[in-house]
Symmetry: D2
Subunit: 361 residues, 4 copies
């Protein structure tokens, strides 16, 4: 059972509500003797932090992380690493008006029906604030993988579709992604995207997005058939992110429309290495990494909190309506990029350790 725990060997357990005193996570199973400090984690958290541009919510979350255990004299000891982030800027009064109303598209209704009680302040446990904890865990995973896999290892994510606006994947630039506030990989499209998103924001509306995460330098052999396939765990990881409704590995849903000739990636030996001529498989065959780039994409639905009045029901079963004016992201998908990277890093490290357990001793 793993209500609030993710992973098998490298595991993290998150806790905390949006408007409680703090949120945090416990990272267990981390290899010992890995140099790690709060700065390593903070730099990943800063990517996810709101209030950094006009494209995200103006709510300020400092997201300052503290390490409470598991690190001694700058190195991991193999014991659980406890991370805590104290909550600030909690304007609980913002939420009094929606205390008894179920916001459409949110989990207010289902949490209340399941548990018979819910912390309604800022979404409580269902708030995307929880994702800060996993970005912290992902920072540790990334550090371990870099040490174990070397310089070729890299995980990078981007927004590849912003509402109805696509981009040209052939223009993908890691460098450009890190330099723009929308995590857009294509320099040629960024101006149009910014204009599109500002219009949505001004209208008090919102849009969805597609995020693509790529991992390079991954050895052949990660993933354990049948029921710990690498793509199962990646799909599960991405689907755990708030507002995600679809996941593709490589060609994903589009592979349905291909023929066998178009889809199966041919292999050739070239310069003493086996290479694949295409990558429809997204780097995974039979649930096991093939040594190609691992490519996962996922769809984030549009922010459900919008200014337009929407029909809904309250906790007493009465018909009512709601219009949300709070400080919200016009596209929550943008801040999902570092979260997707974090989940990729955690899944890859978990499978790296699993593979060592069964196959490398």
């Amino acid at each position: 059972m793993s209500y609030n725990t993710f992973g098998k060997i490298f595991r993290f357990t998150t806790w905390g509500e949006s408007h409680g005193p703090a949120i945090g996570c416990v990272v267990d199973g981390c290899p010992p003797n890995i140099p790690i400090n709060e700065t390593d984690i903070q730099s990943e958290l800063n990517k996810r932090k709101p209030g950094q541009s006009k494209f995200t919510t103006q709510r300020k979350e400092d997201d300052k992380v503290n390490i409470l255990s598991g690190v001694f004299e700058g190195r991991t000891t193999g014991t659980p690493i406890s991370l805590i982030i104290y909550n600030k800027d909690m304007r609980s009064r913002d939420y009094e008006t929606i205390k008894n109303k179920f916001r459409p598209g949110h989990a207010d209704f289902t949490y209340f029906k399941k548990y018979g009680i819910r912390d309604y302040r800022g979404g409580g446990r269902q708030s995307a604030r929880e994702t800060a904890s996993r970005v912290a865990a992902g920072a540790i995973a990334r550090k371990v993988l870099k040490l174990k896999l070397g310089k070729k290892f890299n995980v990078v994510g981007a927004v590849t579709q912003l509402g109805i606006m696509g981009c040209n994947l052939k223009n993908w630039s890691d460098k450009f992604i890190s330099k723009n506030n929308l995590f857009c990989p294509d320099k040629s499209i960024i101006k149009l995207w910014e204009k599109y998103l500002l219009n949505i924001r001004k209208a008090g509306s919102s849009c969805g997005a597609i995020i693509e995460v790529r991992a390079r330098g991954i050895p052949v052999g990660l993933g354990a058939p049948i029921y710990s396939k690498l793509d199962m765990d990646l799909a599960s990881a991405m689907m755990s992110i708030n507002a995600v409704k679809g996941v593709n590995i490589g060609s994903g849903m589009n592979s349905a429309q291909l023929t066998g000739e178009q889809n199966s990636d041919e292999m050739i030996k070239s310069k003493k290495k086996i290479i694949f001529e295409t990558n429809n498989a997204g780097g995974i065959l039979g649930g096991i990494s093939s040594g190609q780039e691992i490519v996962v994409s996922f769809a984030v639905k549009p922010t459900s909190s919008i200014i337009t009045k929407r029909k809904t029901v309250d906790k007493f079963g009465k018909n009512t309506s709601i219009s949300v004016r709070g400080r919200h992201d016009p596209c929550v998908g943008i801040r999902a990029v570092p979260i997707g990277e974090a989940m990729m890093n955690c899944v890859l490290l978990d499978h790296f350790l699993m593979n060592n357990a069964q196959c490398k001793n």
Copy 2:
């Protein structure tokens, strides 16, 4: 860890290779006192069985299931249910020619690199033959759910896209699905689909497909945030099926292109019941079932075994090519329908039991 086990409380462990003496599974955690017999299971297995029409492989697999334990005087006893299916029609010689070659699009290469050994006969463990075991487990799950949830409960799957051919979902008919060999839900399109698929088969080619599985009569409250969300487990379940590369919940990948106004499902109280006016969420909010129909779809890539000569590499690292003439399905997606239903049933029962554990005592 769960290499070959799926589920948390209702769990099944599958074993067996395509050309070994038998395949099977052990179903654990099934509630006691459920009437179950081999006929209940056999009827589900027959839906998946190949060789039933000109649209699937002509290989004959009897798929005759035997119950070896866990059922006493026609009822489950709460102890593990062991199911076995003996393999027949194993023409191992068919596979001698591909013993040393890695088939493009298959897991030959990755299994060999991971384990340093592989049973190449008919794909060995990576063969879709393994899915018969889970269809058997799913038959038991369906029986339990029917007893626990009553007559409104129903799980039904269909092919909603066959290669480049779509269908009209408004014409969805459970009855029609059960009457055609392609699990097509739309009577108006079936003739075109048949013609399209026969052409593909004659050409020795193959095509992908999209399968949609719907569950009705599911109570509010199944699914456990954060890391046992119902949609995580459904995505993981569907991604575990051979050749699946993408999974959608409700509007899925398409939700990226919607606005908040279009996407979030409004709620109203009508005739003493809370109902949703649309179902973009696919029946799941915050990882918890909302009482709406649960809608999951997934893409199955085209059969990788095709007649066209393809470049590849052999186990000695030499360049070579391959053309597969064996008895293969032109579209493996078709036979994935009962498998998708089985996985849906297993996940739902698992979450039904989980919910009872924490919330209903």
Copy 3:
């Protein structure tokens, strides 16, 4: 995998080192709507707290617990409950002299060899300080069980052997246990025990102990054969406590010397209830609770930190010796009583929820 997590449905994950900034735990899977507050937990922690009498270490640990999540308006919400206890009175200099020496009977050597690094301050992660976290988790479990099982439910532990001093179990008195500093159940022996222990303390020596924990008001049916037997999980739970080397269920090791006639507990129907005439089984048959009192006892080895000079080796592989003068318990077994109770409460609640999942819906 569960390095630092205990339990299946009701699960707790502990973290923290003896001399780090804090210790704590995350309790997951707790049923919702249970009234719980810091006072409920604090009262259990106070039982374990050192420095309360001349029979335990004079080190002061306030063990003040804070609830950081999972409780809203005084009730559990079904989400993870994060508990934190800040460390105080950490005299790290006490431990500088043993920084490089492996203390005999302690885990210094094995931690260092396993991980290649260890937090030597106060035993770091291997310190019994970790047990405060589980006493906190156990307080929550006890509260839930009381609500679910009613007034007949009760878990109480006692020291039944103190070094070479036994006691008369026929004199067992819950009330007396709660009134003496040694958790002794037998009023007739307490004076002798006190004298014995003071002598040991004065000599800078130590002694072992046997703790017995009894649970009453437990329904028939908890425990899941074959590999989640109630006695397996209780044995595992007690063996997880620092310094425990043996566990008995009912007659335990002594049952080896009995005959079938002496050992098997006869059953009779009396006043409409099935009762057992004896309880050699300790309330568990075939891994399942029988409705009798559940009786578990375990041995705690003597405190390894003693004043007598002992031969050992340092981390550079050189022969050396050690004499420990710090503030230590003459018998760590005494403070193991609330820990044993906590583990009993956690295991029982876990199995109560498991049984509901499979058998009560």
Copy 4:
């Protein structure tokens, strides 16, 4: 959850009832490329087989094992190994008379109350026949460990107490154990034991036993604190064996009576190796193996099926009595020796793989 599964990375799932068509298990997580065949497994099963001497039940169980999957051309492939043993000599009529009566000391009552149904034939799932499956799994674990740890590795068990008869552990001889039907390690006592046991058998009575299992050649570092301590998992493993009521690690329950000076094992460097002068710890410190011999002992209660008439209750709640005349072991503890060895082998391999996962990559 793991109702019928044991282990974390090296896992086995057992299934089957005493009088069903077969019993068996699925071994998952076994490293690939290990040479294994049915003879390797059969030789371990033969140690446990009844009907081999006048000291065990005269019931004949051929216990002929078949490998159904996971082994290809004589080597493990890393996929699940399915083992099956068909049941023979099932005289169901022997059990008709006890169909409705709860045998004292057995799990008839608790299974029936928990599940509301039970397979009463020969004890059904609660029968010790299940242990054949784990002896088979243990044979595989032993083979893997031998290959990974080399010639110094060895696991051997013995009966060290037979009812009221002890033995001299200083006379322990592996060779002698393998040559007598009672697994007695002490040649000087065997005649007395045989006489004692024959008397018990003639009287239709039974006695308990203590089994000790020793593992040699185990590296430092196996075991994962806090909640996967090696001694936790060994205690859990031994407690899972039918009729076991107590478990000791090293000095075990006796350590309660020792002083710190007597108990903590001193360490010295000698001939470039760190050695311990005594082994009260049983080779485990802080839950981690120390490199010493690992010593576990456990008590098996006397066979509950005896000829003497015993009071009991039937399933209709009526008082009655029972006298069991079937073919039973006068001391089930004897046949527990190979089972204890099997569980030791499985736990050690599991922790060897776990340790590699976190600490050796």
